[in-house]
Each structure stands twice: as structure tokens, then as C-alpha cells.
């Protein structure tokens, strides 16, 4: 609660709105105590006095009545009517919504049909019809405005109630033999009240505006009593000659409604967890680069070489070191596996290459990524864009989310081609169909005209691969491309990728959490843990004799076909949070071989021949292995 108010106050506009509203409400409350002139006493000799006239701070209206007094009394009336309308609408709407949501079934059906009918009316039209039946008058206008807002509340509250009505504590109350009324009042209502309050705060501005509108039309408050709307309505005939009689009440309505809206927005934002976590921030076209040190020299050759890459997430005061000095390289025709649990930083490493880490909050703070001789970190956006999809292409996990749902797959392929090559649409389409054939999609001509949701998961992933191949790239970065697929389809996709790299000399970086997949496809493998590489080497060697305890445990997670000589082991515990890394080995807390030395200082990645390990007590002595 305290945090909520802090957030609200940090939002200066919301605070300003709150102050304005408080000021107006207090003014309205103390109006009877103020030394004002009587609002309804006419003095036609004194009509249309201008603003700041003597004795009339805001002048007088067409009947010589004091504008200031009428304004404050009118504000009082408008606020009272608006608030009452909101309370009535909330009360009846909530009652209807709770009954519909709690009882469900036919009751729900009948009630919600009725609500839908009411919502089928253009909003103000229904209010007009109600006023027409009841006759003009402020109370009738209030009833009309409240009535047309009831469906809105009913629908909202029903939704929330349906969610609560099937929770355990409600079932428990039912089993305890409480009556429905008791359950609604003691179990449901307390949980619904916050929603009612929020819905009221977002609609009260509307209700004040609408009652003012009906009064403006002459259907609300009747003379001589005046709310802000009818003041404006009466002033309309003198708009041209004496505009101040219109401006004064109009500006007051504007202040009230704007204050309420500002405050309501602030409340909504403060309550929205997505906004707090930055989940509604727009990602930039390319990841932000804030390099601290110099560009390191590439540590090895290859078509793609990463050296000491550091990518972080900056969320508020926290810094998550998702990728912490990672060096990798891949040669043409080679397949490099990058393996690790969720959150190990393997995907962020992959996305950093083409600046695709969502930013904010992602920031690349150091290191070098070279495609051939071109440095990519800090490269201009146009350079990155030229390489994206043309020289370095991606295949993502879960193609249902990664393909555009509203474009035909053929068109999405055509776009991938035409972004980089000035060919005609027809030509690109022909090439798109060819690509679909290459990834062995049957009936490719027709398939090109279907939408992603009309395909199976395996077909969609093939489309994803076809898209990556569209411009015959040098490097393909595949980010868990088979995770969402079943095993047979997975095997087909893997052999497809394997063929393609042999045929075309593609370099593949294959991100996965599955050692089984690595064994089938990859020449070399790098194991990541908590943003760091803990082991690297040729796949066969690593699989046969893992050096890092983590690698050994990870391999033990893979089920084996046949006898099952080995126990399938889960690794107890979770990877550490990468915003509070202790010095030393990040795996120490879960490691069975942990010694005091493991957590006192940084441990280097020790290279020996083709292999490397970041461990003081490796399972396999790499230098001896290299010597042999």
C-alpha cells in the first residue's frame, strides 16, 4: 500500500490531478460556508458584468446573478450528481455482475444477454430514451446516466466474480454449509471491492461529463437551479456577446474531468505490475550498446567470433549480468552447440549477435562480435540491418509466436527475400515456394498461401528454417528450434539442418538445453552456466569425459535408450540469480565437490588443446588428456 502511494506521488501529473480534484472537492464542500452572494437572486439591471467587476469576481450572467457563487454551487451540484451516479451504477452493476458470476449457468446467461442488449445501444442514446420517459430533471438525468453505466460495471464485475467463484476458499465455505448470501457477502464481495473502486475511478469523470451534457441539453437540472452543464447551456445564447459566461463553467468542467482522469491514470499505472516491471516498454530497433572498455581483439578466427561479450539487463537499480564475458567462435560448415538451463544466458548470447536483445532493459556493455572482418557491437543500425537475415539468420523457438499471425507464410518469405534483394514479387514468390520445397514441405505451392495457424508445429518450424535460408546466409543461429516439437519431428528437423550445413557450408550456432540434440548435430559444444561458459570442447570428447561437474550432471539428465545402466539424475537447486553473483564458481552451491577455494576468487577458463573448463577440481584432467 505504501509502495502504491509512493508510485502515485512519483507520477507528477497524477499528483497534480489529485491536488486539483482535492481542491475542487474541498471548495464544493465548504461552499455553503463561504461569504458568497445568493446564486439564484436575479438583478437584471446588473446583467453581463465582466470578470473582475466590482463585487463580482467572475462577473454576472444574463440575469445579473453572481457567476462565482453560481459556479461554486453548480460545481457542488455537478460533483454530487456525478458521484451519486457512479455509486448507483457501481452498486447495481456490481450486484448484477456478482449474481451472474456467482450463480453461473442459466442465471448468468439470461442476465448477460440483457446486459449485451443494453450495450448494443449507442451510449448517450439510451440515456436520452430514459430521460424521455421519466421527463427532464436532474434526478432523472442522474438515473439515466447511472442506468446506462450499469452494464459496464455488471460485465466487469461478473468477469472477476467468475474467477473467484471457483476458488478453493469459496468451495470450502460452500462445504461448510454457508448460505449463498453469506458467501457472497463475506467471501466474494471483499475480493471484488477493489475492482469496483478502480472501475469507479475510471468512469466517474465520464459520469460527471454525461450529467453535465444532459443538463446542457436542457434535460437535466431545471432553472433556477444550475449545475455546470446547465450554466453552459444557458450561456450558449450569449456566447458571442458575453463569452465569459460560457468560459467559466466550461473551464471548471475541464479542470474536474482532467483532474479525475490524471488521477485515475496514475492509480491504474501504479497498480499495473506490467508497467512497474517495464514489460510495456517498447524494444528498440537494435540493442543499446554502452561499451565501457576498449574493443578486445578477436580471440580466434571463424566466420563469427564473439570475444568477451557482456550483455546485461538494467532494471531499475538492478543489473542482471545475463552474459558475462563469453567468447565463442564458429567456422564455415561447423556446428557449435551452446547448451545450458533456462536463464543461463545462452539465448541472450545468441540474440546479442544481431542486436536483437530487447532493449530496454537489455544493454551490451562490452566485448566484440565479428562477422568476418566487420565489428558488430556498436555498428550502425543500417549495417546491422544489412546483415540481419541476409548473412546471419535466425531460427527461433515456438514458430507459432515467432511467425506473424496475420500474414501468409509465403508473404513472410517473400518479405525476407525482398528486404535484401530487389526482385519482383512474383519472382520472390517462386523462390519462396522453392524454399518451402527445400525444407521438405509437401504441396509447397498451396502451403505458401496458408497462414501459420493453419499449419502443424513441425511445418511451422520448417517455414522458420526456410525463412532463415531465404538469402543463403553464412551463419544460422538456431535458438532452441526443436524444443516445442515432438521427438520424430525433432529428428527430421535436425537431419534437415545437418544436410543444409553440409550442402551449403553453413556455420550453425545451435542453442539448446538438451545434450541429446547436441550429440546428434554439433561438432563442438560450449556449456553455459549463469552467464558464463564453464566448459567447451569437441562434442564427442565432452560427452565421453565431461570436465566440469555441471556438465557431468547435465549429461546425466539425458535419458538413455536400452538397458538404462545409468541413473537419471536431476540437479537439485536452481541456477543463481544473475544480479547478485558471489565471487567464484556460480555452480558451487549445487556442486557436490565444492571446496572453500571455489568461492573465494574468480576462476579462469583453463584451455588445454581443443578443450577448456572453468573449474578448480575438474572431473577430467584436460591437460593430461591433451598431452596424450
Amino acid at each position: 500500500m505504501k509502495k502504491f502511494f509512493q508510485l502515485l506521488l512519483r507520477n507528477r501529473l497524477a499528483a497534480a490531478g489529485g491536488v486539483a480534484i482535492c481542491f475542487v472537492v474541498i471548495l464544493a464542500l465548504i461552499t455553503p460556508l463561504l461569504p458568497l452572494q445568493a446564486p439564484n437572486v436575479t438583478n437584471t439591471a446588473n446583467r453581463f458584468q465582466p470578470v473582475f467587476a466590482e463585487g463580482h469576481l467572475l462577473g454576472t450572467d444574463h440575469l445579473g446573478r453572481d457567476m462565482l457563487s453560481r459556479l461554486l454551487w453548480g460545481t457542488r451540484l455537478s460533483l454530487a450528481v456525478g458521484f451519486s451516479a457512479a455509486i448507483f451504477a457501481a452498486f447495481f452493476g456490481a450486484a448484477i455482475g456478482i449474481v451472474a458470476g456467482y450463480f453461473g449457468g442459466r442465471t448468468d446467461n439470461v442476465i448477460m444477454r440483457g446486459v449485451d442488449m443494453l450495450m448494443a445501444f449507442p451510449y448517450i442514446l439510451l440515456a436520452l430514451a430514459i430521460v424521455a420517459a421519466l421527463g427532464p430533471g436532474l434526478v432523472n438525468a442522474l438515473i439515466a446516466v447511472a442506468a446506462v453505466n450499469v452494464p459496464f460495471f455488471a460485465r466487469n464485475i461478473r468477469g472477476v466474480t467468475v474467477g473467484i467463484a471457483h476458488k478453493e476458499f469459496v468451495d470450502a465455505a460452500r462445504l461448510a454449509g454457508l448460505s449463498d448470501t453469506r458467501i457472497i457477502l463475506t467471501e466474494i464481495l471483499p475480493n471484488v471491492v477493489p475492482v469496483i473502486v478502480i472501475a469507479m475511478s475510471t468512469t466517474i469523470g465520464w459520469m460527471i461529463l454525461e450529467t453535465a451534457g444532459l443538463s446542457f441539453l436542457g434535460l437535466g437540472s431545471q432553472p433556477p437551479q444550475a449545475d455546470l452543464g446547465s450554466m453552459l447551456g444557458e450561456a450558449r445564447s450569449a456566447l458571442i456577446t458575453n463569452p465569459h459566461t460560457s468560459v467559466v463553467p466550461g473551464v471548471m468542467i475541464l479542470i474536474i474531468v482532467m483532474g479525475i482522469n490524471l488521477l485515475g491514470d496514475g492509480v491504474r499505472d501504479a497498480l499495473d505490475p506490467r508497467l512497474r516491471s517495464g514489460a510495456l516498454t517498447r524494444p528498440m530497433a537494435a540493442t543499446v550498446v554502452q561499451r565501457k572498455g576498449a574493443v578486445p581483439a578477436p580471440h580466434a578466427g571463424g566466420v563469427l567470433t564473439m570475444t568477451d561479450l557482456e550483455t546485461q539487463f538494467h532494471v531499475g537499480p538492478r543489473i542482471y549480468k545475463a552474459v558475462n564475458k563469453v567468447s565463442l567462435n564458429v567456422a564455415p560448415g561447423e556446428c557449435l552447440g551452446v547448451i545450458g538451463e533456462s536463464g543461463s544466458g545462452k539465448s541472450v548470447t545468441a540474440l546479442s549477435v544481431m542486436g536483437l536483445v530487447a532493449s530496454p532493459p537489455g544493454v551490451i556493455v562490452g566485448g566484440s562480435i565479428r562477422y568476418k572482418d566487420e565489428e558488430l557491437i556498436g555498428a550502425r543500425y543500417t549495417t546491422l540491418r544489412r546483415f540481419r537475415g541476409d548473412r546471419v539468420a535466425y531460427i527461433f523457438q515456438d514458430p507459432l509466436a515467432t511467425l506473424h499471425p496475420l500474414y501468409k507464410v509465403g508473404d513472410q518469405l517473400v518479405e525476407a527475400i525482398r528486404v535484401h534483394h530487389p526482385v519482383s514479387r512474383a519472382e520472390a514468390w517462386k523462390r519462396a515456394v522453392e524454399l518451402l520445397k527445400q525444407v521438405r514441405i509437401p504441396n509447397a505451392e498451396n502451403r505458401a498461401s496458408t497462414y501459420p495457424h493453419e499449419m502443424s508445429g513441425g511445418m511451422r518450424q520448417r517455414v522458420g528454417i526456410a525463412m532463415a535460408l531465404a538469402n543463403d546466409p553464412d551463419v544460422i543461429i538456431a535458438d532452441e528450434p526443436t524444443t516445442a516439437l515432438d521427438v520424430t519431428v525433432q529428428a527430421q528437423i535436425l537431419s534437415l539442418l545437418d544436410d543444409l550445413r553440409r550442402e551449403r557450408g553453413l556455420a550453425i550456432v545451435f542453442i539448446t538445453h538438451d545434450f541429446g540434440v547436441v550429440g546428434q548435430l554439433c561438432d563442438r559444444v560450449a556449456v553455459m552456466y549463469a552467464g558464463r561458459i564453464v566448459e567447451e570442447g569437441p562434442t564427442d570428447a565432452v560427452l565421453a569425459a565431461p570436465a566440469h561437474p555441471y556438465t557431468r550432471r547435465l549429461i546425466a539428465c539425458v535419458p538413455e535408450l536400452g538397458e538404462g545402466r545409468r541413473r537419471l539424475e536431476a540437479i537439485p537447486g536452481l541456477p543463481p540469480a544473475v544480479d547478485r553473483l558471489e565471487p567464484g564458481c556460480a555452480f558451487a552451491a549445487r556442486c557436490t565437490k565444492k571446496e572453500a577455494a571455489c568461492v573465494t576468487r574468480e576462476i579462469e577458463l583453463a584451455r588445454a588443446g581443443p578443450r577448456a573448463v572453468r573449474c578448480l577440481y575438474p572431473e577430467t584432467d584436460l591437460s593430461r588428456e591433451a598431452a596424450e
Binding site: G114, L128, L217, G218, G250, R385, F387, T402, P405, A416
Partner: protein
């Protein structure tokens, strides 16, 4: 597609019937004797009785509803007492004027609202975003009738750029330029609130979409940022913007009543207010049913547009 439209039309029938029931029930709430209410307290008993018979008020409630409904289905909405002319003729005349006003305002709010929302989202937290967000806040807070009055004061009275009110000039008017000249201010004043709502929703819909995986895919393909925003993201965001456009159409259609009063626009809203003040019940009844029915049909068009955009909707 034709099948889908037919299906939607059929499903609208219960809604339309529901609307007539609601309007009928509301009108049946009128306290006292409607005939006396219509004719005034000085009416002779014969006239009251005749009117009661004409209105069918001597029948039971349910019978009255079906008589009324049956008449409406044959195009007979009854006769307006105040105007002494068939309700349907008056409603059609006035509705065409409202349609011009509300239709223009609707197009304005859709075009400018979406553009503002997209720009705002694309430049999130930048100057353009802040300026648009503030303008939107102002737009949705200002009462349209007050805005209209201020526009008259500035653009018609002070600057003399545009006519004060009406739909056509009284002398020598009547052509299209004259209509447009008279239309600018009321259409803008009517569009402002709806534009704000559309802009606000478009912004949040765009922000939601811009974080989606398929946007990252588009970027990974090398698609330029302008295309990413205006084609990939906007197309997906339209799925949530279109329903809001439907709701806003209802707002401009019924909110036109204020603007018609301020600008003396001869539309159906002003007709309704006059009819309410004169207790011309049949005119109110007919007008409300007619406009609500048009709105229901418009919403079917919105659903059809949605199904054209989104292939995932089963047609």
C-alpha cells in the same frame, strides 16, 4: 464470406428485437396517461380517447408491443404530433444529416487516433509521445459541447474563417464546398474525444504488440524499423483497435447530439432533444430504435472487417 455476413445478420435479429423491447419498456415507464402527457392537460376527453386508440393504449402491454413492432416492420413508425408528419420521414431526413456529421467525425477519429497512437508508441517516452499523451488527455477531458462553443468563438467570431452554425448557408448555399465549410468545426469538435480514446488504445495495443516474438522475427529478417512499426506491428495491433473503433462509432453517433445543439446541425440528436422537451413520444421511440438498429448493423460491418483482417476468426 457471404455466409459469414449472413450468419452475423441472422445473429443480429435477437439483438434488434431486444432493442425494441428495451425501448418499448422504457417508454412504458412514462408516468400517468401518455395521451394526456402528449396532448397537454387542456385536451378534451374525446381527443385523449382518440389518441389512446390511435396509440393502441387501450390494449394490454404485450399486445401493444407486437402491434408497434408489426407496424415498424412495415415501415410505419407512427406519426409525430408536434410535427404532424410520419416519424420515419422525419427520422430519415434528420439521420442523413447526422450521418454526414458522425461519419466524418468517425473517419477523423480513426485516422488521426491510430496515427497518433502509433507515433506515440514508436517514440515511447520521447518528446512526440509526451506531447501526444498530453494532447490526448486534454482531448478526452474536454466536454465536446464546450469545445464546440470555444471553436465558434475563435474560428467563426474572432477569425471569421468558418460559418458559426448550420449545415448550409441560408442564401446561395447548398453545394458541397458550402457543406464542407459548415462541417469542419462540428466534425472536429465531435471527433476530439473519440480521437483521444482511439489514440490511447492504439498506443497501448502497439506497445503490447511491439514486444511480441514475431516483431523480433521481422527485425531478424532485416525489415526496416518503419515497416516493422507501420506494417507488422500495426496490422497485428488493428485486431484490438478495430473493436474500439466500433465502440467509438457509437460514441460519435450518439454524442453528435451535443454538437448538433451547439452548431444548430439539423440532425437526429437535436430532433430527439426537441421531441423529448415536447413529449413527442412516438418520435423519440422511432428515432431511438432507428439509430440503435443502424448502430447494430454498423457493428456487423465492424465484425466483418475484423474477420477480413484476422484469418484466425472462423468465417
Amino acid at each position: 464470406m457471404t455466409g459469414y455476413i449472413l450468419k452475423r445478420l441472422v445473429s443480429a435479429i435477437p439483438v434488434l428485437l431486444g432493442i425494441t423491447v428495451i425501448v418499448f419498456l422504457i417508454m412504458a415507464m412514462i408516468p400517468g396517461d401518455p395521451a394526456t402527457a402528449i396532448l397537454g392537460s387542456y385536451a378534451t376527453p374525446e381527443n385523449v380517447e382518440k389518441l389512446n386508440r390511435d396509440l393502441g393504449l387501450d390494449q394490454p402491454l404485450v399486445a401493444r408491443y407486437f402491434i408497434w413492432l408489426g407496424n415498424m416492420l412495415t415501415g410505419d413508425f407512427g406519426r409525430s404530433f408536434a410535427l404532424n408528419r410520419p416519424v420515419i420521414d422525419e427520422v430519415l431526413d434528420r439521420f442523413s444529416a447526422t450521418l454526414v456529421l458522425a461519419g466524418t467525425a468517425f473517419i477523423l477519429c480513426a485516422v488521426f487516433g491510430i496515427i497518433a497512437g502509433v507515433v506515440s508508441a514508436a517514440r515511447q517516452y520521447g518528446f512526440a509521445d509526451k506531447a501526444i499523451t498530453f494532447a490526448v488527455l486534454l482531448g478526452i477531458s474536454v466536454p465536446s459541447f464546450f469545445l464546440g462553443m470555444m471553436m465558434i468563438l475563435i474560428f467563426a467570431v474572432k477569425l471569421r474563417w468558418l460559418p458559426v452554425s448550420g449545415m448550409f448557408a441560408i442564401y446561395g448555399g447548398g453545394d458541397l464546398p458550402d457543406l464542407l465549410n459548415h462541417l469542419i468545426m462540428p466534425a472536429l469538435a465531435l471527433a476530439v474525444v473519440a480521437t483521444g480514446v482511439v489514440a490511447r488504445l492504439s498506443r497501448s495495443a502497439m506497445l503490447e504488440v511491439l514486444r511480441q516474438d514475431f516483431i523480433r522475427t521481422a527485425r531478424a529478417k532485416g525489415v526496416g524499423e518503419r515497416d516493422v512499426v507501420w506494417r507488422h506491428a500495426l496490422k497485428a495491433a488493428m485486431v484490438s483497435i478495430i473493436p474500439v473503433l466500433g465502440i467509438q462509432a457509437g460514441f460519435v453517433l450518439s454524442g453528435a447530439v451535443y454538437i448538433e445543439m451547439v452548431f444548430q446541425w439539423p440532425g437526429v440528436g437535436r430532433m430527439l432533444v426537441d421531441a423529448i422537451l415536447k413529449r413527442d413520444i412516438l418520435l423519440v421511440q422511432g428515432g431511438v430504435v432507428f439509430v440503435a438498429a443502424c448502430y447494430v448493423l454498423f457493428n456487423i460491418a465492424v465484425d466483418v472487417a475484423q474477420s477480413l483482417l484476422d484469418p484466425r476468426i472462423k468465417t
